[in-house]
């Protein structure tokens, strides 16, 4: 194996301008300001208008270093504005770096946006040739692959229709079909999976897998972490223009997702006087954690979870139960569960003191996404004596590799793993 991409100390600086002064509030102020700036422009036509624009340096990328071996598939993740697109733009030579250098071995093709260079007035046939040339294919290559491209895009009937009359689905399919038949040594892909329906996505993914199996190198940017995890064994996490993590995709992605969630998996109140509650019950501690492994580690779909609630009972002989309502992102209650199921304390009166109730949620049950927990304390099985909304929240991550084609979120409030059996009943 040899390295085909080598990035050394790469940096990119942008100069951005801010408007320093606000225009005055009156129309007269705005007019005098405009007149003055026009006069400035006439006197110094080529210099930036220093009076009103304040220039600031912005390093979109700082000191990036990595190497990619031939045949590797590397995902690049990070929040919007982290520098992913800038990195891809430099690698595909659209823009120049400010510092550092990149060595690329072999032909590079980038799919920064499918359909670039399509001309609406030209027919499908003409656009295949034009777009192929723009993406770096030779005329012979395009001719050799023409039928394959047309079949892939499923547009046989409309080959000689101008693409401006295509439906948006046809347009995207054609655009991707041309791009998918490129045969570069290094393929740079940005968010192409965002297009098309599930059947088309399946085709695209199959194509990308086969590209990698042919020993070509793929650099892939996406916000779809399931797709990323399925396609790329390695991931690089960019944060604020710098490499935050580079390594095995599952690890990097789960670190990234965890850093990104707004979840609050634990709340502790030490002072019994001020903690939430009333003169009957007060909360001490609420938290959610994976049943096995580190309490602060990521929560994924297949993990059994524990939700732990500690509270002080202030009244002797109280019949108390804790009830949890689990809300999904769509404000739907996924389920409600109560400690009245507890075989030991379920029917026993509580003496004064600190109690802990733990709810066990099995693995492979919750769907992915943010969940919020509402906590209720119920007395005598019928009266809610205390209610704490948004006690904790946690993000269930979907990190498994999938066999199927669908890489979006599965529908449903919960996603239990059901047992299925199929029998072959007869021959015909």
């Amino acid at each position: 194996m040899s390295e085909v991409v080598k990035v050394e100390n790469l940096g990119k600086k942008y100069i951005i301008g801010h408007q320093k002064q606000r225009y005055g509030d009156s129309l007269r102020d705005a007019m005098t300001h405009t007149a003055r700036s026009i006069w400035q422009r006439i006197r110094h036509p080529l210099s930036p208008n220093r009076e009103s624009i304040d220039l600031e340096e912005l390093w979109a990328l700082k000191d990036i270093n990595f190497e990619v071996q031939q045949g590797e598939r590397v995902g690049i993740i990070g929040r919007n504005g982290a520098g992913k697109s800038t990195l891809l733009k430099i690698l595909s030579r659209i823009t120049e770096p400010t510092t550092g250098r990149v060595h690329l071995k072999g032909r590079v093709s980038s799919l920064l946006e499918v359909g670039t260079g399509f001309h609406p007035e030209l027919t499908g046939r003409e656009n295949i040739f034009l777009n192929g040339a723009i993406l770096g294919m030779t005329k012979q290559e395009i001719k050799a692959k023409f039928d394959e491209i047309v079949a892939f895009a499923e547009i046989e009937k409309f080959l000689d229709t101008p693409v401006k009359r295509y439906s948006s689905g046809m347009y995207v399919r054609l655009a991707f079909a041309v791009a998918a038949h490129l045969e570069p040594e290094i393929l740079i892909v940005d968010e192409v999976l965002a297009v098309g329906d599930a059947a088309f996505q399946k085709k695209c993914l199959g194509k990308m897998e086969s590209v990698a199996q042919e020993g070509r190198t793929v650099l892939f940017v996406s916000h779809n972490m399931v797709a990323m995890q399925t396609l790329c064994p390695r991931a690089i996490w960019l944060d604020d223009g710098e490499t935050k993590r580079d390594g095995q995709a599952s690890q990097v992605i789960s670190d990234y997702l965890q850093s990104n969630t707004s979840s609050q998996t634990e709340q502790v109140w030490d002072d019994i006087e001020t903690s939430p509650g009333n003169d009957v019950v007060r909360l001490h501690w609420v938290r959610v954690r994976p049943e096995n492994g580190s309490p602060s580690g990521p929560i994924t779909m297949n993990m059994p979870l524990l939700i732990e609630v500690e509270f002080w009972n202030l009244v002797p002989d109280a019949h108390l139960h804790v009830t949890l309502h689990l809300y999904t992102e769509q404000q739907v209650v996924a389920f409600s569960t109560g400690s009245s199921n507890d075989s030991v304390w379920g029917d026993r009166p509580f003496p004064v003191g600190l109690f802990r109730s733990v709810c066990q949620i099995p693995g492979n049950f919750l769907n992915s996404g943010i969940h919020r927990v509402f906590l209720l304390v119920v007395r005598n099985r019928d009266t809610v004596i205390y209610r704490h909304e948004d006690a904790i929240s946690f993000d269930v991550l979907d990190l498994g590799k999938r066999k199927g084609a669908w890489l979006g979120k599965e529908p449903g409030v919960v996603r239990p793993m059901m047992k299925w059996t199929t029998e072959h009943l007869s021959g015909t």
């Binding site: 595909s92 250098r101 990149v102 690329l104 071995k105 072999g106 260079g117 034009l130 101008p162």
Partner: protein
């Protein structure tokens, strides 16, 4: 396997290699621009003949009939037509190439290729127009019984000079247009003005002798005089010092255009 190194400030030698490597894209872009030029028009490609024909008639009426400017024995329509063809080639190229970068913004920000092929492909489109419009001149010469002499072999060179002049201007303006869109408004105006300061509607002999050399600072003066000299036989002479001056200016414009374009092109994707 060929290795590409991306670093700040690429060298000029690579620049020429790359243009060669991307020649096929250049061909496809020119082909696209020719194909779409007259899409969804009724008379289609006939427009490339209509425009010079109508301009020629108007200029002949104004300068030949109304102003009665001397033509030195050459039928006025031929005099105008021989100048109109290179002039329109020049003007169309500047027009197309100066807007080429801005109107292909999507490609510039999404795909890498040597940017200079974009304004250059505009020249190919106007070249096709030029060749079609040449039919008018051919018919006119047939009608007036003019047979070109051996001098016609210099026409391709004169055409080359017209191409270099228009490309030089096109490189300057298209690169400037990326940052300052003022040029989008300035260019049509300057071209319209240029039609009247260049000897299109009249012979350059109407310019007084002492101004002749200064007049040749306009690069199109040399090209147009050359065209008339090559096509119209004995009646038209060539003022050699002026011609050489014009050609020198053409070369200067072209080289400086390439220089300015290559100096600024690496920033195009960031500011377009």
């Amino acid at each position: 396997m060929n290795e590409i190194v991306i670093e700040p400030n690429r060298s000029l030698k690579l620049f020429w290699q790359e243009i060669w490597a991307y020649r096929e894209l250049f061909y496809f872009l020119a082909w696209r621009d020719i194909l779409v030029r007259y899409k969804q028009t009724v008379i289609g490609i006939a427009w490339s003949v209509m425009r010079p024909l109508l301009s020629m008639i108007i200029l002949t009426v104004i300068f030949g009939r109304l102003a009665k400017l001397p033509s030195g024995g050459v039928p006025y329509p031929i005099l105008v037509c021989a100048a109109m063809l290179p002039w329109q080639f020049f003007a169309n190229t500047i027009n197309l190439s100066s807007n080429s970068l801005v109107s292909n913004r999507g490609m510039i920000t999404k795909i890498y290729f040597p940017r200079i092929i974009m304004p250059t492909s505009g020249m190919v489109v106007s070249l096709v127009d030029f060749l079609l419009a040449f039919g008018i001149l051919f018919c006119l010469m047939l009608w007036y019984g003019y047979w070109p002499t051996w001098k016609v072999i210099v026409l391709p060179f004169l055409l080359l000079f017209a191409a270099l002049a228009s490309l030089g201007v096109g490189y300057w303006v298209s690169a400037l247009n990326v940052k300052y869109r003022d040029f989008r408004h300035l260019v049509p105006f300057v071209i319209q003005f240029g039609l009247y300061v260049s000897p299109v509607g009249f012979s350059s002999n109407v310019v007084p002798g002492k101004w002749k050399l200064a007049y040749s600072l306009n690069p199109m003066v040399g090209v147009i005089d050359g065209f008339r000299w090559a096509l119209l036989g004995k009646q038209v002479g060539l003022y050699l010092p002026g011609f050489l001056l014009s050609i020198g200016i053409v070369v200067l414009i072209f080289l400086s255009g390439v220089w300015f374009f290559t100096k600024t092109e690496r920033g195009f994707a960031d500011i377009i």
